[in-house]
Symmetry: C2
Subunit: 347 residues, 2 copies
């Protein structure tokens, strides 16, 4: 699918972000002008507001590349995920997903209520044949290259089959978003010797052994302490564990940063040192920031739905749009379909 | 129980540490001289070697306070946990646990093979009445005061009842080791709105509600991003999740430290800044180091068995001994017994 000019179209739920639609429009312009994204965009949300924001920004881009699609309602963070899209039929999120479902967009990007986006996405786009439960994949920085952590919260009650599917979907996401040709896949567990871990992980290990080298390059179980070593491209876990790992990692990052700041202002000598080394802290923050890899796809659906963090700034939003464009360009969903079928046949 | 002088006796498996028995003896002397620990110690391991190490260190302490108990074998990290103590009956770990079982020690501290210590501990000391599965509790630094994370790996396949017991045992550990009078207990989950999380956590939440305010001060579910906020004294989870959180937190700490070092040496200005602020980095490391809170007890057994990290340095070892003395002083096991019975009656 695609627009008449052959470019892909990304539908953007412009209303759900914590920073408001202004940041979303800024991100869009940054994606076009700085990241040179060659896509068309449909901004979904309060029409007049979005038109005005676009005018103010006066982008030096072909106006035909940015459409505005009016939606009168906004899904809030307080809306109950299972009911949000049913109750708010004219919400920007619901309308953006409709554009995807009706073939008027190739991907949706939203910063809104994760639960509502997942529930709505699953209901309206349906899981791919052979996939029981979709999973949320996210790109995480590490010592070497970044890796995909999957699932970070879509499915907190996984089966071994779900985890095998996570491996297949995560590997395809790593190919599309990270450019890995043959992603190395690890299974997150505790203690890598046989019999350790828990029954879910041990059963999943069996499935992954069965598809190893045929569908994915499964390198075996890995432990928490190996997470940031950069040895794997995909880390597979269930949504409960993945969500806790992701959120506690963000928390520890903030905690360390806060402690460092406290220590660096304790006396004038330290303050001077900190001032001289200021650019090092800035560069470190950039390297470890999730902004470069914002945009987590809900994998395993018949459409590309990507979630960006609620507090995403314009750089994060632009990168989420970039990743959306990548997964469309790589026909990721087609590859996932092929691989899922092959994997299901092997076990 | 206790020695004739009324002091408690700690049996020390001096052989299992990565840094060797020298570090253990150094830690012991540090505990006595610097931390002023008023206990007796029985060093278990290669007798002649330990005697020689003690002589070299020539502590200015009453020699009667340090006994050496010979054991000819050492459990290695490669030994299979379930068989280690059965196959190596004269290992320092087996002998130390025997001293505890036979009433000749009030606590055991070991840096050795965790799996072997847990398996041996459970087999020889037996779980407390009313406790199905012991749990490993560990003290973790946070923005405010440190908190107890329980379980970090003893029981990777928990039931809701296990998690309720973890809450009770963790609260008693927080009282003994952190001096919390009324520890605030949180249940680690994803999404704190009702119905989120997984079935294990939701069932555990039910049990914790039933004992809330009667046995423990349960404040409800908490998410990964709240872990280091310092709002809770005890974080309850199953051993699979806890182990991954603990190890990935250590990994991210190292990863951030490594990235910071790389950035700080990129140019002469940064290097100068880093040199001026050097003491800030050192103090930060001390604040976040696990050394102050080494010594994780295997809770729920009829005896105090504490595990210290395999790579513990002398400060960590001394602190593990200090924590062992605290749990003995607080009669922690008696309190756990009382609370477990009360909790089991309430559900």
């Amino acid at each position: 699918m695609g627009a008449p000019d052959g470019k892909c179209t990304i539908a953007v739920d412009a209303m759900g972000s914590d920073l408001g639609p202004t940041e979303f429009v800024r991100g869009l312009i940054y994606a076009i002008e700085d990241l040179e994204l060659d896509c068309n965009f449909t901004l979904v949300g309060k029409g007049r507001l979005l038109e005005r924001l676009l005018e103010v920004r006066r982008p030096a881009v072909d106006p035909a590349r940015i459409q505005v699609h009016h939606a009168s309602e906004v899904v809030s963070m307080q809306d109950k995920p299972s009911q949000a899209l049913r109750k708010k039929k004219d919400s920007s999120m619901a309308r953006a997903i409709e554009l995807l479902r009706d073939g008027k967009a190739d991907a949706v990007v939203s910063c809104g209520n994760t639960g509502a986006l997942m529930a709505g996405g699953i209901l309206r786009m349906r899981p791919l044949d052979g996939v029981d439960r979709p999973a949320l994949g996210i790109i995480v920085p590490s010592k070497g290259k970044p890796f995909v952590l999957i699932d970070v919260g879509a499915n907190p009650e996984s089966t071994a089959l779900n985890l095998m599917h996570n491996a297949v979907m995560g590997a395809n996401y790593a190919k599309a978003a990270l450019g890995c040709e043959n992603p190395r896949v690890g299974l997150l567990t505790i203690g890598t010797e046989e019999g350790k871990g828990n029954s879910l992980v041990n059963a999943s290990h069996g499935y992954l052994q069965a598809i190893k080298g045929k569908v994915v390059d499964y390198i075996g179980p890995i432990e928490g302490f190996q997470l940031f070593d950069g040895d794997v491209d995909v880390v597979v876990c269930d949504g409960f564990v993945g969500n806790i790992v992701l959120k506690s990692s963000e928390a520890i990052f903030e905690f360390i940063g806060g402690t460092m700041k406290e220590e660096l202002v304790r006396n004038p000598k330290r303050k001077l040192g900190a001032a001289l080394a200021k650019s090092a802290f800035r560069d470190m923050k950039t390297r470890l920031s999730p902004n470069q890899h914002a945009g987590a796809p809900l994998l395993g659906l018949k459409g590309n739905i990507l979630k960006s963090h609620g507090s995403s700034n314009y750089i994060a939003i632009a990168n989420a749009l970039r990743i959306a464009a990548e997964v469309v360009k790589h026909d990721m969903i087609d590859s996932i379909c092929t691989d899922i079928n092959q994997a299901n046949d092997l076990i």
